[in-house]
């Protein structure tokens, strides 16, 4: 992840969403995308953990650090989904789930 936070935030069992923002035109795109990511994350009650690797316009939003009850977490999930679903800058989003991978 290109920002701070990163996988150990996930490691704490926190919720996280991958979000693909609509690319703006022009060179200024990068920083304005980052600013836009911050704004969208904030609107969703999440923290922008930075761009996902080399995928332009893709950002990871994570649950703010801090322990919460299951009920709170569920409420946070609902809120985040609702905000991301209707935000006009969001082209695509997906809650990050743990993948099962095996060495061969």
């Amino acid at each position: 992840l290109s920002g701070a936070g990163g996988p150990d935030t996930l490691g704490a069992g926190g919720l996280s969403w991958a979000v693909h923002l609509d690319n703006l035109e022009g060179k200024r795109e990068e920083e304005s995308l980052a600013q836009q990511a911050d704004a969208v994350a904030q609107a969703a009650g999440l923290v922008n953990a930075g761009r996902i690797g080399e995928l332009r316009g893709h950002y990871l939003f994570v649950q703010p650090v801090g322990h919460r009850q299951a009920v709170e977490v569920e409420a946070m999930r609902q809120q985040a989904e609702a905000v991301l679903a209707r935000h006009e800058a969001v082209r695509w989003y997906s809650e990050q789930r743990l993948l099962k991978r095996a060495k061969r």
Binding site: S2, A4, I52, E54, Q96, R97, L98, K100, R101
Partner: protein, 647 residues
């Protein structure tokens, strides 16, 4: 003629098989011509690489490495309870173990650089996979991945949205635009009747899917079949047969060397090593050139179980062995003279709604789609590479379904093999199968999808909801393919494999690695700590100065006249250990010229407190070697009597 002093090199039968000549990757001839992978970087995406071990350290590439589990640049494996995180180090040793270091073994591409991306030793998400696949993708040329979804014979999984996007981004922008090379292991689910067409990494057109054969060339008990397998190379077999000898970690029970590396995990890195040899002789090979060269040079061999089938373009393919055994000599000689294939062309059919029942065996549902010349005019697609079919089928027991695809030539691909362990009631929902068995065949014609239900009678039948056909290929005609096959065969003598012969290579693109400078949490914490420390001491010091000034101001003698100099004892003066402590004031000489601004001062002003030692902060004492007064002609220590201090 090649001799190494590495103690286990003689046991490395996969490199040079003395016991059964020919049962190896045929690499010594390539080494004799100094093709060792020089200038190429292979990254092992796994549970870490112990890069400090003798066999790896000299070839280790820190700039291509990263640890995504701990979010720091060092991919060292972390010992865990079950002595498990040695996998990546073993794979790295197969690729680039250093020769002639009297330690353990030798790597296939022992002149290449090896990097590690630690990603399997912790929670793994789609976004982390995406980061891993493009990490340092202008430094890492080949990504060797000896892992995948569970091989339990009932999982249908692969890269998710971001992982797919990263694979695609990697082949488009990786390696200066020539495309990252992704090598994946086909899977170890043989005992569970698994098939790698249910593994999205193996199905992906962007990956080189590598299977395993044992020392006798047979499909080992653990290996899986699939129509998307490109080729096989050696690995361990059952107990009677030898496994792969490679470097091991030396943590926990590790000794630094193992003779027990096996599974398709051991085959994929060997293929990655051979591709590194190819890239040394021809760095501008694109990701598709590499796949083509594998298809053109892999060797079919006698194996009665292997159900080899030769397609219309003359390529023989087996669901067990792909296009056959990888052969380093053939791969490298082909790479040396290879000119790039034409751009990738593709055709996608409309989503074909069927809603037809899948009859029980021996009957079958057959649906057709004709691809006309008109359909292909836009893309120019003439001959095939990968063919994909995306299906949505409902069925109460998914493992009972059998899906076959027939290309216009009649070449059959078993893209969905029945799986006895798979009782999932959710069927297939937009799952994409793929096959490489029609490689080089003409794209135009009628494609047939045949689906059967091989389950038992009691269950309701399945329904084919919809399907979609995607063709990938190029403008190459069948004649072009025949010509290329002939050209390659003429190169197999090795006559081009010398430095005197080199085809021009287009320069790569300068693609900046987009990820900005990332401060790892550890660095961040250190910086914060240092910052706090500095702030604290600054405050303390300022307080100290303020208080000492206030004290001095409060001393009676100082208010009007010259400040009394502290008594200096003769002894300390003689020993030269005297500490001159003086209040921090502006000194003014008798003529009222303030020496601070006096232009004539010949020595620096107050000297920094240079006598302060650890803990000796009780009184900030400053030494002044000389008063910076205008009348400097007398030795400084006599001047003081006349000095007037203004505080």
């Amino acid at each position: 003629s090649i001799h190494f002093n590495d103690p286990k090199y003689p046991q490395q039968w996969h490199l040079n098989n003395r016991r059964s000549p020919g049962r190896d990757i045929n690499v010594t001839g390539v080494w004799e011509r100094n093709v060792t992978g020089r200038g190429v970087t292979v990254v092992v995406v796994d549970d870490g690489v112990e890069h400090t071990i003798q066999d790896i350290a000299p070839n280790y590439s820190p700039e291509g490495s990263y640890d995504l589990n701990s979010n720091d640049p060092d991919p060292m494996p972390h010992p865990d309870a079950e002595n498990g995180n040695r996998h990546g180090t073993r794979c790295a040793g197969e690729i680039a173990a250093v020769p002639n270091n009297s330690f353990c073994a030798v790597g296939v591409a022992y002149g290449s650089r090896i990097a590690g991306i630690r990603v399997l030793d912790g929670p793994l998400t789609d976004s982390m996979e995406a980061v891993a696949f493009n990490k340092h993708y202008q430094i890492n040329d080949i990504y060797s991945c000896s892992w995948g979804p569970d091989d339990d014979g009932k999982t249908v999984d692969g890269p998710h949205q971001l992982g797919k996007a990263a694979l695609q981004h990697g082949v488009m922008a990786g390696r200066q635009g020539f495309g990252s090379i992704f090598v994946v292991a086909s899977g170890n689910g043989g005992q569970h009747n698994d098939n790698c067409n249910y593994d999205g990494y193996a199905n992906s057109i962007y990956t080189v899917t590598i299977g395993a054969v044992d020392e006798e060339g047979h499909m080992p008990f653990y290996a899986e079949e699939c129509a998307s397998m490109l080729a096989v190379t050696f690995s361990g077999g059952d107990k009677m047969l030898r496994s792969i000898v490679t470097t091991d970690w030396d943590l926990q029970k590790g000794t630094g060397c193992t003779e027990g590396h096996t599974g398709t995990s051991a085959a994929a890195p060997l293929a990655a090593g051979m591709i590194a040899l190819m890239l040394q002789v021809r760095p501008c090979l694109t990701w598709r050139d590499v796949q083509h060269i594998i298809v053109f040079t892999a060797t079919q061999y006698e194996d009665r179980h292997a159900d080899w089938l030769t397609n219309e373009a003359g390529f023989s393919h087996s669901h067990q062995h792909g296009f056959g055994l990888l052969n380093a000599w053939r791969l490298v000689n082909a790479a040396k003279i290879w000119t790039s294939v034409p751009y990738l062309a593709s055709y996608i059919s409309p989503m074909l709604k069927e809603n037809k029942a899948v009859p029980r065996s021996p009957h079958s549902l057959e649906v057709l789609w004709n691809v006309s010349r008109m359909d292909l005019e836009m893309s120019g697609l003439k001959t095939l590479e990968h063919v994909s079919v995306t299906v949505s089928i409902t069925h109460p027991r998914r493992g009972s379904l059998e899906v076959k695809l027939f290309c216009p030539s009649g070449m059959m691909s078993l893209i969905g093999a029945p799986r006895s362990m798979d009782s999932d009631p959710n069927g297939f929902n937009d799952w994409t199968f793929s096959t490489v068995r029609c490689w080089g065949e003409r794209a135009r014609g009628t494609y047939r999808l045949v689906i059967r239900d091989v389950g038992d009678e009691s269950l309701p039948v399945g329904i084919l909801r919809q399907w979609q056909l995607t063709l990938y290929g190029s403008v190459w005609s069948p004649v072009d393919i025949k010509d290329r096959q002939s050209l390659l065969e003429s190169a197999m003598s090795g006559k081009y494999l010398h430095d005197g012969f080199t085809l021009p290579c287009p320069p790569g693109l300068k693609i900046p690695e987009e990820d900005g400078y990332t401060i790892t949490p550890n660095t961040l914490k250190t910086l914060v700590l240092v910052g706090c420390f500095t702030v604290f001491w600054t405050i303390y010091y300022m307080l100290e100065v303020y208080l000492s000034q206030r004290n001095v101001a409060a001393t009676p003698g100082c208010r009007s006249g010259p400040c009394p100099w502290p008594q200096r004892n003769q002894k300390s003066r003689d020993e030269g250990t005297e500490l001159e402590s003086m209040p921090l004031c502006n000194s003014k000489d008798l003529d009222g010229v303030d020496s601070e601004s006096g232009v004539l001062s010949t020595t620096s002003g107050l000297l920094a407190p240079d006598l302060l030692s650890e803990g000796d902060w009780s009184l900030s004492q400053s030494s002044k070697s000389a008063l910076d007064c205008p009348h400097q002609h007398q030795p400084p220590d006599l001047v003081q009597g006349k000095e007037e201090q203004i505080c």
